[in-house]
C-alpha cells in the first residue's frame, strides 16, 4: 500500500472525498482558513455550459440573453476554441463548487483547493461580501425570483416580462447603492413582504403622482419641494421601482429582483483580482503542502503545475492574444509577494512596507483579503519588485494630442505613478460613467432628468446611451433627458423620445 492518495489520473467519489479531507485538514488546521461548509457537485460538460450561461447561478429565471450566452458558449466549445473553465463556484452557504467529470484527479484536486477552500474563504471573510451578500439565503432567493418571474409570464405574457427584464438589465449596473449598507435578503421574508409591498407601493406612487388638488389640509403632509428627488439618486433601478408613475406592481417587483441580483454580484465585480489571486494562492499552497507530506505523486504535481502556470500567465501587451491584465496573474503574484515580504524581506520591502515586513505571512494575507477591494488592495500592496516583474508602464492618452505618452515605467520615479494608475483601473466608480437622477418633474410633464458627470473629459458612448435611454423611457413612460455636465456646464444632451433641439426644462 503506497502512501500516495492515488496514482494515475482516474478519480472516483471515494477518492474525491479522500483528497477533500486531506486538503481540508491542511487548510483548516495548518492555515486556519475560515470557510462555509462545502458542497462539491460533479457535473458533465453540458451541465457546465448551462452553469456558464446562467452567470453561475444554479437557479436562474428565463431570459433570452442567457440563451444567447449558451448558444455562444456551446458553439465555441464544440469548435474547440475554448476549453471550459474548470471552476464555477457559488457564493452560498454551503458553498457550491462544480467539478467536471472529464477532468483528471489532479485537476479535481486543484479545483477543490481553488474553489472550495480559496474562493469559499474569500466569500466568507471579505468585508464587501459580508456587507453586500447573504450566502445563506441566496439560493432561496433565486428560487423565489425564478418562480415569481415564471408566474408573471403566465399572468402577463412572455413578451411583456421580457421587455421589462431587458430594460432592467440595461440599467443593472446602476441598481446598486454604493454607500448605503443593504439589508440582507431572505426568501421567506421576501415572499411574505412581497404582497404587502405590491399594495402599499402602488399607494405611495399614486400619492406622489396625485393630480387632484388636495381637499383636506391634513393629508398635505408631503413637503411640496420644488425638486424631486431632493438629492441626486445614484440607484436608478431603486428610484424607478419606487417612483415610476405607471408601472404595474409586478413590474416593480421585477425591477427589485434585478436590483437584488446586481447587488449580489456587485462585490464580485470589485474583487476580481483579489478573489482569483486568493484562490490561486491557496490552491498553489495547499497542493504543494500535499506534495510535501508525500501524499501525491510527481506526475500529479507536474500536471497541476502545468495547469497552474497556464492560469497565471500574463501575456505582454505585444502578444496577439493580449487582452488586458489577467486578474489571476496579478492577484496570485501579489499575494505571493506579500508572503515573500513577510518571510524574507529585503531593504526595499522594509522601506515600502515597514508594517508588514517580517510579520506572520498567514495573518497578513488574511488581513489583506478581509479588508480590501481590488483598487485599495493594489494601492496598498503592489510592490516595486512586482512592477519590475510585470514590467508595467503607464500610457497617458489625451484626445487633445495626436500621440500617446509613456507617463511612467518600472523605475524609481515611476513606481508610485504606475501603482496609482493601475489601482484606478480597478475603480468601478471611475470606469463606469457617473450617472444620477437629478430631477423628476412631478408637477409638470413628468419628465425625468439624469445627469452624467464627466470626468477627465471622457464622453459617454452615444449609441449605447441612446439605447439605454430607450429602456429607461420604457420603464418611466414619460420623457427622459440625459445631460452630460463638465465643469458645471451641459456639454451634450440626449432625450427619449428624441427632440430636434436640446431642451432643458426649467
Amino acid at each position: 500500500m503506497s502512501r500516495y492518495l492515488s496514482e494515475g489520473s482516474d478519480w472516483d467519489f471515494e477518492l474525491l472525498a479522500r483528497y477533500d479531507e486531506a486538503i481540508a485538514d491542511i487548510a483548516h488546521n495548518k492555515y486556519g482558513l475560515d470557510t462555509y461548509p462545502n458542497q462539491i457537485e460533479v457535473i458533465s460538460s453540458e451541465q457546465m455550459m448551462d452553469a456558464y450561461s446562467s452567470v453561475g447561478m444554479p437557479v436562474g429565471y428565463n431570459h433570452w440573453s442567457f440563451g444567447k450566452q449558451f448558444v455562444e458558449v456551446e458553439g465555441r466549445y464544440r469548435r474547440g476554441q475554448m476549453g471550459l473553465a474548470y471552476e464555477i463556484v457559488i457564493n452560498s452557504d454551503p458553498c457550491i463548487a462544480y467539478l467536471m467529470e472529464e477532468n483528471s484527479i489532479a485537476m479535481q484536486a486543484l479545483v477543490i483547493a481553488h474553489a472550495s477552500y480559496g474562493h469559499n474563504s474569500f466569500f466568507k471573510n471579505n468585508y464587501l461580501f459580508k456587507t453586500w451578500t447573504d450566502a445563506s439565503s441566496i439560493i432561496d432567493y433565486l428560487v423565489f425570483a425564478r418562480n415569481y418571474i415564471a408566474d408573471c409570464e403566465m399572468r402577463h405574457g412572455v413578451t411583456a416580462v421580457e421587455e421589462t427584464l431587458d430594460s432592467c438589465h440595461a440599467l443593472m449596473n446602476y441598481g446598486v447603492d454604493r454607500y448605503k449598507r443593504p439589508s440582507p435578503i431572505s426568501a421567506i421574508e421576501e415572499k411574505r413582504r412581497q404582497r404587502e409591498r405590491e399594495e402599499s407601493l402602488q399607494k405611495q406612487v399614486s400619492e406622489l403622482w396625485r393630480t387632484f388638488p388636495q381637499l383636506q389640509p391634513a393629508t398635505q403632509l408631503r413637503e411640496q419641494s420644488d425638486t424631486f428627488p431632493a438629492e441626486p439618486q445614484e440607484n436608478l433601478l431603486y428610484f424607478l421601482e419606487k417612483n415610476a408613475p405607471l408601472l404595474k406592481p409586478w413590474q416593480r417587483e421585477i425591477i427589485r429582483i434585478v436590483r437584488k441580483m446586481a447587488q449580489y454580484f456587485y462585490p464580485q465585480r470589485q474583487t476580481k483580482v483579489m478573489n482569483e489571486g486568493w484562490a490561486c494562492l491557496w490552491h498553489y499552497t495547499l497542493l504543494n503542502d500535499l506534495y510535501d507530506k508525500g501524499l501525491v505523486t510527481d506526475g500529479f504535481m507536474l500536471e497541476f503545475l502545468q495547469n497552474h502556470s497556464q492560469v497565471i500567465y500574463q501575456p505582454p501587451f505585444t502578444a496577439p492574444f493580449y487582452s488586458g491584465m489577467n486578474p489571476y496573474a496579478l492577484g496570485f503574484n501579489m499575494f505571493q509577494d506579500i508572503r515573500r515580504i513577510c518571510e524574507t524581506p529585503d531593504d526595499e520591502d522594509r522601506e515600502w512596507f515597514p508594517e508588514i515586513a517580517g510579520s506572520n505571512w498567514v495573518e497578513t494575507v488574511k488581513f489583506a483579503m478581509e479588508s480590501f477591494k481590488d483598487e485599495s488592495f493594489i494601492q496598498q500592496f503592489l510592490s516595486p519588485r512586482l512592477i519590475r516583474y510585470f514590467k508595467f508602464f503607464q500610457i497617458d492618452d489625451d484626445d487633445r494630442n495626436d500621440y500617446v505618452e509613456v507617463a511612467a515605467i518600472h523605475n524609481e520615479q515611476g513606481y508610485r505613478k504606475v501603482r496609482d494608475a493601475l489601482a484606478e483601473q480597478y475603480n468601478l466608480s471611475i470606469q463606469e460613467p457617473n450617472i444620477q437622477i437629478v430631477r423628476a418633474n412631478v408637477h409638470g410633464d413628468r419628465a425625468l432628468t439624469l445627469r452624467h458627470q464627466r470626468s477627465s473629459g471622457r464622453p459617454l458612448d452615444d449609441d449605447s446611451a441612446r439605447e439605454v435611454l430607450r429602456h429607461l423611457h420604457r420603464l418611466w413612460k414619460f420623457d427622459v433627458h440625459l445631460e452630460s455636465v463638465e465643469n458645471g456646464t451641459v456639454v451634450s444632451h440626449h432625450s427619449m423620445p428624441p427632440e430636434p433641439a436640446p431642451a432643458v426644462s426649467s
Partner: protein, 427 residues
C-alpha cells in the same frame, strides 16, 4: 465538512428554454440566413443544420459606458523599450476603448458577427415557417401495418403479468368492508350491550347474559376473519388495446419538360423547386411517394436520376404528360386513399394547339382529383400560350391551382413561399 454530490444525471438541458427564447427573438435574422442557405446549398444537403450569423450590434445589450475620447491612463505589462516621456503615435483603434480591462479593443475585430448553429429540425422549422399545404384534409385510415398499443383502462380478466396491484388491493378492501359491514355493526351493538351489563350489579342473569354475549361476539368475529383478504374477484388487470393509427399519405407528381429548349440551369431551378416541395410534404405526411414524369412530345415515367440528368431533344406537347399523370392516378393512386399533389416545371414552350387541351385536361380531369397543382415557369421571357390558359384556370380555382415564374435561383424560395403561404380563408 464537505458533501460530494453526483449531479451528472440531472437534467442537462437547463438552457433549452433560454435558447428557444433567443431563437424566437432573432427569428428575422435566422430566417434570412435560412433563406440564403436554401439558395446556396446543393440539393442533397438541404436537410442539415445551418450556421447562423447575426451582426453583433443587433444583439447588443446596451449599458452606459464611456466612448472614446477624453484623458485616461492605462497600465500595460511587458515594457521592453519605452522610457518615461516617450511619445508614440496613437495606435489605430487600439487601447481606445479601454473600459477597465481593455477587452473591447482587442477582441473587437474578429467578432463582428455572432455565430451559432441551429440543427436540422430547427432549420426546417424556419424554412417552412408560416407555410401550409393547401387542402390538407384527406386522411386515410389504413389498417394493415400500423397499430399502436394504448392503455385501455382496467379489466377484471387478464394474465398475471398485468395485475394492477393498487387497484386489486383497493377492490379487496372494498369487498371486505362491504361483506363484513353488517357483522361488524352487530358486534358493535353486542359490545355496547356488554359494556352496559358490566355497569350493573352482579347477578346470575347478568352472568348468563354476559356469557351469551361473549360467545356471540367471538362467533361474529370469527365470521369477520373468515372473509378472505384477497379473492379472485378482486383482481384487476391493466388492459391494452391495439388501435389502428390513421396513416396519411401523399403522392407527388413531378412533371418536367425536357425538350431541347430546357437547358441544365433551368432543370436545376426546377429541381430545387421540386425538392422544396418534397421536404415540405414530408413534414406533413407520414408517407410520401414521388412519381417523376418527363416529357417532350411524349411523356414517360422515369426514375429520379433519369428525370434530372438525361437529355432529350424535340418539340413539346405538355398534354402528353398530363394524360400520363391522369392514367397513373387512375391506375395506382385511388383518390380515396391518397393526397395527390402535382408540380409542373416548364420553360413555357408548348405546341400552340396543345395549350387549350392542357387547360381542359387539368380543369376537368386532374383538378377534381388533386389537392393542389402548382406550375412554375423557369424562363425569363415573355409568356406563351400555356401561361395564358393556366391563368384562366387559376382564376377559376384559386384554392387548388397556382402558378409563378422563376428567373434565377434566388427567387425559388420566395416563389415557393408565395405558392404555399398560409391562407387564412382556407383555415
Amino acid at each position: 465538512m464537505s458533501y460530494i454530490i453526483d449531479r451528472r444525471l440531472n437534467d442537462k438541458r437547463k438552457s433549452t428554454v433560454n435558447r428557444q427564447r433567443f431563437l424566437r427573438r432573432y427569428r428575422k435574422h435566422i430566417r434570412e440566413a435560412v433563406n440564403d442557405a436554401v439558395n446556396r446549398r446543393s440539393i442533397k444537403d438541404m436537410e442539415q443544420g445551418e450556421r447562423i450569423s447575426i451582426p453583433r450590434k443587433d444583439l447588443s445589450e446596451p449599458i452606459f459606458h464611456h466612448g472614446p475620447g477624453g484623458q485616461r491612463s492605462i497600465v500595460h505589462p511587458g515594457n521592453k523599450e519605452f522610457h518615461q516621456g516617450d511619445r508614440i503615435a496613437r495606435p489605430e483603434g487600439g487601447g481606445g476603448q479601454g473600459s477597465g480591462d481593455g477587452q473591447a479593443s482587442n477582441q473587437g475585430d474578429g467578432e463582428d458577427a455572432f455565430a451559432f448553429e441551429i440543427d436540422k429540425q430547427e432549420f426546417l422549422n424556419f424554412l417552412f415557417e408560416d407555410l401550409e399545404l393547401p387542402n390538407l384534409v384527406k386522411r386515410h385510415m389504413e389498417g394493415a401495418q400500423t397499430f399502436q398499443t394504448k392503455h385501455g383502462g382496467i379489466v377484471s380478466q387478464g394474465m398475471p403479468a398485468k395485475i394492477n396491484i393498487v387497484r386489486s388491493m383497493r377492490q379487496a378492501s372494498m369487498r371486505r368492508r362491504a361483506l363484513t359491514a353488517a357483522t361488524r355493526r352487530r358486534i358493535r351493538d353486542l359490545k355496547a350491550e356488554r359494556e352496559a351489563l358490566l355497569q350493573q350489579d352482579q347477578s346470575p342473569q347478568r352472568q348468563a347474559r354476559l356469557q351469551e354475549l361473549d360467545e356471540q361476539i367471538a362467533k361474529l368475529e370469527r365470521r369477520v376473519e373468515r372473509i378472505p383478504f384477497l379473492d379472485t374477484v378482486d383482481l384487476r388487470f391493466n388492459h391494452h388495446v391495439k388501435v389502428p393509427v390513421p396513416v396519411s399519405r401523399a403522392v407527388m407528381f413531378c412533371i418536367m419538360d425536357v425538350s431541347g429548349s430546357m437547358n441544365q440551369d433551368m432543370k436545376d431551378l426546377a429541381k430545387r423547386f421540386f425538392l422544396l416541395l418534397y421536404l415540405f410534404l414530408q413534414r406533413n405526411y407520414e408517407k410520401i411517394e414521388v412519381v417523376f414524369i418527363r416529357h417532350h412530345t411524349s411523356a414517360k415515367e422515369v426514375d429520379e436520376e433519369e428525370f434530372f440528368y438525361s437529355r432529350e431533344t424535340g418539340g413539346t406537347i405538355v398534354s402528353s404528360a398530363l394524360k400520363l399523370t391522369r392514367d397513373i392516378i387512375n391506375d395506382r393512386y385511388p383518390v380515396t386513399e391518397w393526397n395527390i399533389y402535382a408540380a409542373q416545371a416548364s420553360d413555357g414552350d408548348n405546341w400552340n394547339d396543345d395549350s387549350p387541351a392542357c387547360a381542359k385536361l387539368i380543369e376537368e380531369e386532374l383538378l377534381p382529383k388533386l389537392q393542389y397543382f402548382s406550375y412554375v415557369e423557369v424562363m425569363p421571357r415573355a409568356h406563351q400560350a400555356l401561361w395564358d390558359h393556366y391563368q384562366n384556370i387559376m382564376a377559376k380555382h384559386p384554392a387548388a391551382f397556382s402558378m409563378a415564374q422563376i428567373d434565377e435561383p434566388g427567387e425559388i424560395y420566395p416563389v415557393f413561399r408565395h405558392l404555399f403561404k398560409k391562407r387564412m380563408e382556407d383555415a
